[in-house]
Subunit: 394 residues, 2 copies
């Protein structure tokens, strides 16, 4: 492989931006204090953490004391769901979520199902979108939590979060949204959306891995799920990852500052990519044609398997994903694509997710389009022999 | 403050070492793939994670598939305790722990107490040490978990973990040890110690904040407490913090490689410090005189408060701690010092913890001893007026 490598898997993870990296740098070896310590090293670290909290809050229209730092999107989702269920269990044990959530929500809700909670899995239309009407019908007297993602990680579809949260609010049901794929990519305002809980993950918007946040509205007395030293006002124990939260805040602030310009640029790249790929035989777009993440182009190719296609593209110097095409290890076809009626369990069809960032260029898009036909051909010939499909987890 | 600042709060957190920092560096902006992705960026990240796992395993005598990465010591402790309780609840609901555990263990066990588990809090002697005989007496038919720390974070006392784990093993009770203060500071071998579960935190041994590990022996089928993408063989979901685990492994490998030399050096510094401080009027050593962490010197000063003393030392350019002297916000005197009978609730007495690392020098020790009397004098005069004592959380 001598050609320049093209990274088109930004929905899986992103490179740390220079601005985030430079912001983190002093907190590893110089200003390395524990923010809970009362001496000057400690107070300097604490100032950095509180400054980061302010930036994250402002980036999503929240108040400073509504932002709690976590180890990432998965912890944020688990916290929101497990703690909300515990908080409201006297009111009832019914939870509503969608059929197309990320596993961090899906599997956590399933855990609650095993513990005796009742779950309504909202269906989606052919674009993977939840309908407010169906949510309205699903709400019951004993409903305690609704969790619907802001943007889908496999097919990029944006959910009507504002309408859904409005229904939740009217019925006095807590509303959580996993905004891990959306934050930093589309404008988000927690008050405008009317959500009670929102999960963020830094490494999806050019911040570092291992750090995230949970927005908890002031009106929600969410209990902790990790116990200890009482950091984060007693809600999330554990020494704060100072460089991590500083990097997260810098990346998110930067993303929000350049939001309009970046959305325009990335949307243009995405549409150029979609146009080029749809010219190939057997290709179809998955997800909503318009209500979708600016950088996420997702397709399905008949008679090809996702694993061999991603491998062939990798050989051709393109980092792509089969789009969390399979659940863990089992070789099962995508739950999301099945829910949207795009594939059935029997279909041989390769989902392909190409997820872009502001670092991608038009030349790279053209290269992807140029390299794709040979990769598809190679993957199709290998798919006949291939075993269970590979798994990509974001 | 024009004098050179001396950092003597290494039990709270440490500077990231150059070797750990350099190891992490490529994983922020170059080799930034998601280890779950199947393309080349993903497989490069996965290799780095598995190499880190091997290093951490070898550093504590574990097998590679016994190491699970977490967000830090608090998550590791919570996971070990909450999951072990769930795993064994059919056998019984009795847990044994010590009265001097870190809050990450203490408060998690208290949560289980609220959920109907019965807890025996083992007393300690005047050095803060648990007795194997008392553990033997406390074990019951329905005991499912014993959790005793390897080294105390406030007074540095080392517990007889091998003897305690042997008792647990004989009674077929799971044994967890919070080794957060010990790892990288004293030699640890999980097989020699005979423990089932061991918590580690990278930032206590010159690794980065926000990353830790839980050793889970192959014979222990510990369920997860975080659900999602199925990372860490389904046991700990969430995108792996690649630079974090790489930095942790590099720091721990380095600490183990230089263990003998470092223990000798730091013990000599600590003893020089203890000797100098004990010459001051009203000073007493806390913790065991010999069975203690190489770098941790802890004292108690009569008629002084911890908060003002730490503040006065900080003014004098010395970063120290009152040794987690108070529980969260309440201004309560140290639970550890009370358990060891060193103070009562009515005493006015300042705990002072000076915790050293290989970066400290003999000159710094002498400077601390030189600057301490004036700080004590100033703190004593302020302690008359001061309100509730400050809290330091590690």
């Amino acid at each position: 492989m001598t050609e320049k490598r093209i990274y088109a898997d930004n929905a899986a993870t992103t490179a740390v931006s220079d601005v985030a990296f430079e912001a983190m740098l002093p907190y590893f070896r110089e200003s390395y204090g524990n923010p809970s310590a009362t001496h000057s090293y400690g107070t300097a670290a604490k100032r950095a953490v509180e400054d980061a909290r302010k930036k994250v809050a402002e980036s999503i229209g929240a108040r400073i004391n509504e932002i709690y730092f976590t180890s990432g999107g998965t912890e944020s989702d688990n916290w929101a769901i497990l703690a909300a269920a515990g908080l409201r269990k006297k009111k009832g044990r019914h939870i509503i979520t969608s059929a197309v959530e990320h596993n961090a929500v899906h599997n956590t809700v399933q855990q609650l199902e095993k513990r005796g909670y009742e779950v309504t899995w909202l269906p989606v239309d052919k674009y993977g979108m939840v309908s407010p009407e169906q949510l309205e019908e699903a709400v019951r007297e004993d409903t305690i939590l609704i969790s619907v993602m802001t943007a889908n990680n496999e097919i990029g579809t944006l959910q009507p979060v504002r309408e859904l949260a409005e229904i939740a609010g009217r019925h006095k049901v807590l509303f959580h949204t996993d905004a891990v794929q959306a934050a930093g990519h589309i404008p988000l305002d927690v008050r405008e959306l009317g959500v009670d809980l929102m999960s963020l993950s830094a490494h999806k918007f050019h911040g570092p891995k291992g750090v995230g946040a949970l927005y908890i509205s002031l009106r929600t007395a969410l209990p902790p799920i990790l116990f200890g030293g009482g950091q984060e006002k007693g809600k999330r124990s554990g020494t704060t990852n100072v460089p991590g939260v500083v990097g997260m805040a810098a990346a998110l602030e930067d993303a929000v500052r350049r939001m309009d310009e970046n959305v325009r640029k990335v949307t243009a790249l995405r549409d150029r990519l979609i146009e080029g790929v749809l010219n190939l035989p057997g290709a179809a777009l998955t997800g909503h044609p318009v209500q979708r993440l600016p950088g996420l182009a997702s397709f399905i190719f008949k008679d090809v398997k996702g694993g061999p296609l991603v491998a062939a593209l990798d050989e051709a110097g393109v980092c792509a994903s089969s789009g969390s095409a399979c659940s863990a290890g089992a070789g099962e076809p995508s739950r999301v694509l099945k829910a949207a009626g795009i594939i059935t369990a029997e279909d041989v069809a390769a989902p392909l997710r190409l997820s872009l960032s502001g670092y991608n260029t038009a030349e790279e898009i053209d290269e992807i389009i140029r390299r794709l036909p040979a990769a598809l051909k190679r993957a199709a010939s290998e798919s006949v022999l291939a075993g269970p499909d590979n798994m990509d987890v974001d």
